[in-house]
Amino acid sequence: MEETAIELRGIHKRFGDLEVIKGIDLTARRGEVVALIGASGSGKSTLLRCVNLLERPDAGQILFNGESIDLRAGRDGTLRPAHHDQITRVRAGIGFVFQNFNLWPHMNVLENVIEAPIHVSGLSRRQAVAEAEHLLEKVGLGDKKNAYPAFLSGGQQQRAAIARTLAMKPAVILFDEPTSALDPELVGEVLGVIRQLAEEGRTLLIVTHEMRFARDVAHRVVFLDAGRIEEQGPPSEVFGRPRSERCRAFLATHLSEDEGVTLS
């Protein structure tokens, strides 16, 4: 049996009266690339943010490499991490790439990348810098390490953010619409880096609107609709022979829109 990297059991999440996630089970095996697709408001980003508890679910269980994250209910009823040590350790093992990059603007690119390895993992500065330079080379930013984020294009910022995530050597990387905030001509360079990570056999969970990218890179595609998993399977099945009516309707609009996007 293959080992599971991430396992979600019965996740529920509501914002006020709006139930965004209505009981979702999802597993990602080690080395698997899972694409989460669905219309805006279907809950896919919220689900992803529940994995490392950036969003607090109302109910459910989260396992990382088989280890269950201890949760306790807070005053508002949402589940929060019971132990700070555990959640910071688990988060260090789960990378998260944001739609809006969220680089720290007061640090240059290199400082962004070495920040967590030095202060969270306890690496020496020399070693952190050596690894960071290697990673920046890999994402094509070797010549931008001293630049501040505000001086970079969106695509460069997102690649720097991916390098920052990789610097923690995460077992799983979560991507929350990594190309949605980018100009169309910059999408390809970021997808190229993610594709490279997928080919290295990393475990990736990707929320995306790039259907062709999902079809080409993912091992499994999960279609979310109204807070539930409506359909899932290999891309050939979900895209080729969607079983549910909603998935078919969603793909009909999104695959045609997607034709113009070029992938690197």
């Binding site: 998260f96 720290w104 007061h106 920040e115 967590a116 995530t165």
Partner: protein, 228 residues
Amino acid sequence: MNWQVMIESLPALAEGALLTLELVAVSGVFGLMLAVPMAMARVSPRGWVKALPMAHIYFFRGTPLLVQIYLVYYGSGQFEAIRSSFLWPYLSEAYWCAIIAFTLNTSAYTAEILRGALQAVPRGEVEAAEAVGMTPALIWRRIRLPRAFRIALPAYSNEVILMLKGSALASTITLMDLTGVARTIIARTYTPMELFLAAGLLYVLLTFLILGGFRLLEKRLNRHLQPR
């Protein structure tokens, strides 16, 4: 205009300006040290953590600086308990009374400036820090406070200049600051226009000094901002 008396008073006025600068610097540093934890408590979601800094901030922003100085200088000596305590060597001295009043006053304004700056740090930057496994203490030290200081810098330089001018009130409790020296000389020479003009020009000079210092600091700390 009696230019002679103006020039002759300059050395004494310069000495007064030094005391003014010292009052602003010492209470500025103490005020900032008080303001940081107050601002941190002020943005807490817990009501009871917020209560104390809020009471402090509302009192010192809601009352005149002169009243605060009088409360410390005249008010504290009224109580036997204070007169017999270890605080009395300080509270019986005008210099420390001014420092205490200025420190408490500027800490309230600075805490509010910092609170605004802390709330202006984008949520996503804090989430990014959480996502790489930083502890809350580390996020404060490495992300939230450094970001807030940079955001607050322009507004804070304004607060320091206001404090410089507010410090003229120290002369009301016998301190020989810039205004105090001017008033003392005027009492002897009856040349208020000359002396207050000279003192005013020295205040302008000090203001430019402080602004220049902040400009250098901003250039260094905010070099990450995109040039416009």
